[in-house]
């Protein structure tokens, strides 16, 4: 039996690296390019946020990392995913499965539907433990008990024997987190972890994730459409649009010096608490494009207020803008920068 | 949608202009669907339903067969030269021949004619049962679902009692009680099938109305002061009816089989009536006689074709009326 530690992982290599990943779905209506040439990496203890509207390809990237995208219908024309230097995409399914839930774990948007309604919470967590560790039922159960306590669920011995529907939304997400962290994974993929929750609970969950991350030095890939969640918790941000990364940089860079028109649009539509007087929020006009029919050139140009003919000509590449590691795929990054300065000066 | 236009639309351009505003195409789909789902289905909605229906090949086949069956039943007197009731004991249990395509039965009646008139009867009973169950079931279900409380309690208890009877047992008890003289007409059979059939329709309807009652567009209608009757008729019925209609179509086939079963057991219609179950029962009684299989095989095939056709149609309806049900 191959256990996760048998798989030869290079501890000096980057923790998780995505290289030029493309995930396409072949359908009757044409090829849907859900992810179309995406590269990023995340290191220990780091939080990488992937931000974008629904349909921008962020969830599909996460599911691909876990190897949960069915092929067919999906195809992977290019790209690779490396965990500590080992290619996940070239790994046989059986080995991949040993990493799934062990080294890479995931929490989902809606904790009610993501937990199996007919099994007790404790059993679902214990199952996670026993899938990857050779321990007895009793040990797995004790581990589940400890985990429930660790994620701040009051009265764990009782809660252990309850079913998901007996938990409140926030408690369910805590249980989900307990399950994901049961095997101390190196990478935690969090797909919209707070979207289905009340605002007050959202903050608690994010604080919990941050605390657990500090205890374990886990890398977190935080997938969200909500810039507000990202601002206080992410180290780096990838902004995705129509299957591509259009801008990447540190959280400060993205928030204070956006260089892509889309990022700028997102920030302009966000209410700012630090602002002295009321400003008008400017929504981005239009809707995200269908991934089966992405506009030519820069995919954002039909909705962009900076767009010129140049934007239609070719897909702009990700290029360095101000600061190391700050890249944007925008022809008009300078004009965006100036517009941003104006906005901040208000 | 990039489907080629329906020939019907090309034929009546004036009519579609009257019912559909020219700007219709430019209104985002969402508005139409979410804002006024209770509105009467417009022409384009019917076309959508038909387009979805057409995708299910079996359903199309079923529809064609159902139409053929109806036409055949209506034209029965013109198709066959024989009176299905005319007995000729000298010519009983004759195997199929040029004269009697499907042979003759124990009383010397022409089997083919009996099959055709049996089809008439089957469709009549099926449709009447469906309509009766639909009428009572939808009314009771809507009342119980919308008014709730005592109404609901009473209805649920009544349906509980009727649902306590296994279908066939319930049917035969009702038929016997309605027909103490054993005249074995069709009336008691239809009444029995309606009595047993409406409960399921009512429960379906009640469930739908209960779910829809709390929906936002009904709240909206209530908030602008619409009356209960108006809410039920204009908003709830059109939206709740899809699964009920699907069930209704399935129940035609169920009724056809149920009548045949009753006759087979000697409870349904009398031997004088050309009826499929009765015919099969005759074949069964002559099981030991060699070369008499045609007595029950032909009516069996007739029942199979009818039930399958209606089953396919209701399958197609389910997929096309409400894609979510799939």
């Amino acid at each position: 039996m191959v256990r996760a530690h048998d798989i030869d992982l290079d501890t000096s290599a980057p923790l998780l690296e995505v290289r030029d990943l493309r995930v396409h779905f072949v359908t009757d209506r044409g090829t849907v390019k859900a992810v179309d040439g995406v590269s990023w990496m995340v290191g220990e203890g780091e939080t990488l946020a992937i931000v974008g509207e629904s349909g921008s390809g962020k969830s599909v990237s996460a599911m691909t990392i876990l190897g949960l995208i069915q092929s067919p219908p999906a195809v992977f024309p290019t790209g690779d995913i490396m965990l500590r230097g080992r290619s996940l995409m070239k790994m046989p399914e059986k080995q991949q499965r040993r990493l799934r839930g062990k080294e890479i774990a995931m929490i989902f948007q809606d904790p009610l539907t993501a937990l199996n309604p007919v099994f007790r919470i404790g059993d679902q967590i214990a199952e996670m433990v026993r899938t990857h560790q050779k321990v007895s039922r009793a040990v797995a159960r004790r581990r589940a008990l400890d985990l429930l306590g660790e994620v701040g669920i009051p009265n764990p011995p009782v809660r252990l024997n309850q079913y998901p529907h007996e938990f409140s939304g926030g408690m369910r997400q805590r249980a989900m987190i307990a399950m994901a962290l049961a095997n101390d994974p190196q990478v935690l993929l969090a797909d919209e972890p707070t979207t289905a929750l009340d605002v007050t609970v959202q903050a608690q969950i994010m604080a919990l994730l941050e605390k657990l991350q500090q205890d374990r030095n886990t890398a977190i890939v935080l997938i969200t459409h909500d810039l507000g969640v990202v601002a206080s918790h992410a180290d780096r941000i990838n902004v995705m649009y129509a299957g591509r990364i259009v801008e990447t940089g540190s959280t400060d860079e993205i928030f204070y010096q956006p260089r892509h028109a889309y990022t700028f649009g997102l920030l302009s539509s966000l209410a700012r608490m630090d602002h002295r007087r009321q400003e008008r929020l400017t929504p981005i006009k239009g809707v995200p494009p269908s991934l089966a029919n992405v506009p030519k050139g820069c995919p954002f140009h039909p909705r962009c207020r900076f767009a010129t003919d140049e934007c239609v000509a070719a897909v702009p590449p990700l290029e360095p803008v101000a600061g190391a590691g700050h890249l944007a795929a925008c022809v008009h990054s300078d004009r965006v920068g100036m517009a941003n300065d104006e906005r901040l000066a208000l | 949608m990039t489907t080629p236009p329906d020939p019907a639309d090309l034929r009546f351009p004036a009519e579609s202009m009257l019912t559909e505003p020219v700007m219709g195409e430019q209104i985002p789909v969402d508005d139409e669907v979410t804002a006024r789902p209770g509105k009467r289905r417009s022409n384009s909605q019917f076309r959508d339903i038909w387009l979805r229906y057409r995708r299910n090949k079996l359903a199309v086949v079923g529809l064609v067969v159902v139409i053929l069956l109806i036409v055949t039943a209506l034209l029965a007197p013109f198709i066959t030269p024989y009176d299905p009731r005319e007995q000729n004991l000298l010519n009983a249990i004759e195997p199929p021949s040029a004269e009697h395509w499907f042979g003759t039965d124990v009383l010397g009646r022409d089997l083919f004619s009996m099959l055709l008139y049996g089809l008439q009867l089957a469709l009549l009973v099926g449709v009447l049962t469906m309509l009766g169950s639909l009428l009572i079931g939808v009314t009771m279900g809507a009342i119980a679902g919308y008014l709730g409380r005592a109404w609901d309690g009473v209805l649920m208890r009544i349906t509980d009692i009727f649902l306590a009877f296994p279908y066939l047992i319930g049917a035969l008890v009702i038929v016997r009680s309605l027909d103490p003289g054993r005249t074995k007409g069709v009336g008691p059979v239809i009444v029995a099938l309606v009595i047993l059939g409406w409960t399921t329709t009512a429960r379906l309807m009640r469930g739908q109305v209960l779910a829809l009652r709390e929906s936002e567009y009904v709240e909206a209608a209530r908030s602008i002061g619409a009356s209960s009757t108006r809410i039920v008729v204009r908003h709830l019925l059109p939206n709740a009816i899809a699964p009920v209609l699907v069930y209704a179509f399935t129940s035609i086939g169920v009724a056809v089989v149920a009548m045949a079963s009753l006759s087979f057991l000697g409870v349904g219609v009398s031997i004088d009536t050309p009826e499929w179950g009765q015919m099969i029962s005759q074949g069964f009684r002559n099981f030991g006689v060699p070369n008499t299989s045609f007595l029950w095989v032909f009516p069996s095939i007739a029942i199979i074709i009818t039930t399958l056709a209606f089953a396919f149609v209701s399958d197609g309806l389910r997929d096309s009326l409400d894609p979510k049900l799939r």
Binding site: L66, L68, R97, L99, R100, G101, K102, A105, M106, F108, D110, T113, L115, N116, P117, V118, F119, E127, M128, T131, H132, Y163, H165, E166, M179 | L58, R157, D160, I161, A164, F165, P166, L168, I169, L172, V173, R176, S177, L178, D179, P180, G181, R182, A260, S261, F264, L265, G266, V267, G277, I280, G283, F287, S293, W296, S300, I303, I304, T307, L308
Partner: protein, 311 residues
């Protein structure tokens, strides 16, 4: 949970009593058994005498209460035909029906669940298409057609004993006797179960919690065998339970076709001879069994789906 069971039990008892009352009214009051032959065949004085003898001249509520009282003491009346105690006739037929129901249910579950699972897991495969076609046919073909066909073409001296067996001949081996009727019953029910299982599994397989199970690193066998199965079996259990309820009440058509000496055939013979006490007893038995099985299914459902338990 206990409160839930008690409440449902009370409900079931009320439903049974109401249904029995309806049965009684339908068979003995509306369908007056002594009026059927007309006044000419049975003179009114004789009719009255017969009614008095069988207690049918008393007010209906009294009749019904007497019937209920007798029923609890195991007295189901005397049959009109040969003056045998109805309870004995029912007791004699019951083992046959139990055997038939047991074999049919086992076949149902084996064939239905297995083919449903195969069709769902290998969706769009040849097996799936085959299952869809076969189930469509099986559901579209009425039971009596299946039964007649099987009896005509399969029952022989060798494989399945030719029915009907002689009343004086040796008792045939029970399994041989039960097999053809059981297969007849199982064909339709297994088709329903297969469809239900397939649909239910396909729905569950789309659920978020199945994605979670995969994300845990569980093997596909565990994902399907544990997480998908445990959820998708719930509607199937309901259907099977109701199905058992119907079968135990006597498979009317099938038992008649194979002249199988169960409760259903007893009812058929009683119908032919207008033997109302037997009809009443068998129908009451069928209703009671059916209602109790439905109750059991409800309880089982609550046990299988924890979400139900609270409400």
């Amino acid at each position: 949970m206990g409160k839930f069971i008690v409440r449902r039990l009370a409900q079931a008892v009320l439903v049974i009593i109401a249904a029995m009352l309806l049965l009684f009214l339908a068979l003995f009051t509306l369908g007056d058994p002594f009026a059927t032959s007309g006044d000419k065949a049975v003179p009114p004085e004789t009719q009255a005498a017969l009614r008095a003898k069988f207690g049918l001249d008393k007010p209906v509520p009294v009749q019904f209460l007497v019937y209920l009282k007798n029923m609890f003491t195991g007295d189901l009346g005397i049959d009109f035909d040969q003056r045998r105690p109805v309870a004995e006739m029912l007791a004699a037929a019951l083992p046959y029906t139990l055997r038939l129901a047991a074999v049919a249910i086992v076949l149902d579950i084996l064939i239905g669940v297995v083919s449903g699972v195969i069709a769902a897991v290998w969706r769009y495969s040849f097996a799936d298409v085959l299952v869809t076609i076969l189930t469509t046919l099986a559901i579209g073909v009425p039971t009596f057609v299946i039964g007649l066909t099987l009896r005509k073409y399969l029952s022989g001296e060798l494989f399945f004993p030719a029915v009907p067996r002689s009343a004086f001949g040796p008792e045939p081996f029970w399994l041989a006797e039960v097999l053809l009727p059981a297969i007849t019953l199982a064909i339709v029910d297994a088709a329903f179960i297969a469809r239900l299982m397939r649909g239910s599994m396909l729905e569950v397989m789309r659920a978020d919690y199945i994605r979670t199970a995969r994300a845990k690193g569980l093997s596909e066998r565990k994902v399907i065998g544990k997480h998908v199965m445990r959820n998708s079996i719930i509607p199937v259990v309901t259907y099977v339970g109701i199905g058992i309820g119907v079968l135990l009440g006597g498979a009317l058509i099938t038992e008649t076709i194979f002249q199988y000496q169960g409760v259903g055939y007893l009812l058929y013979k009683a119908i032919l001879s207008n033997n109302n006490p037997v009809i009443m007893a068998v129908c009451a038995f069928a209703v009671i069994v059916f209602v109790l099985l439905s109750l059991l299914v409800d309880i089982l459902y609550a046990f299988l789906d924890p979400r139900i338990r609270l409400s």
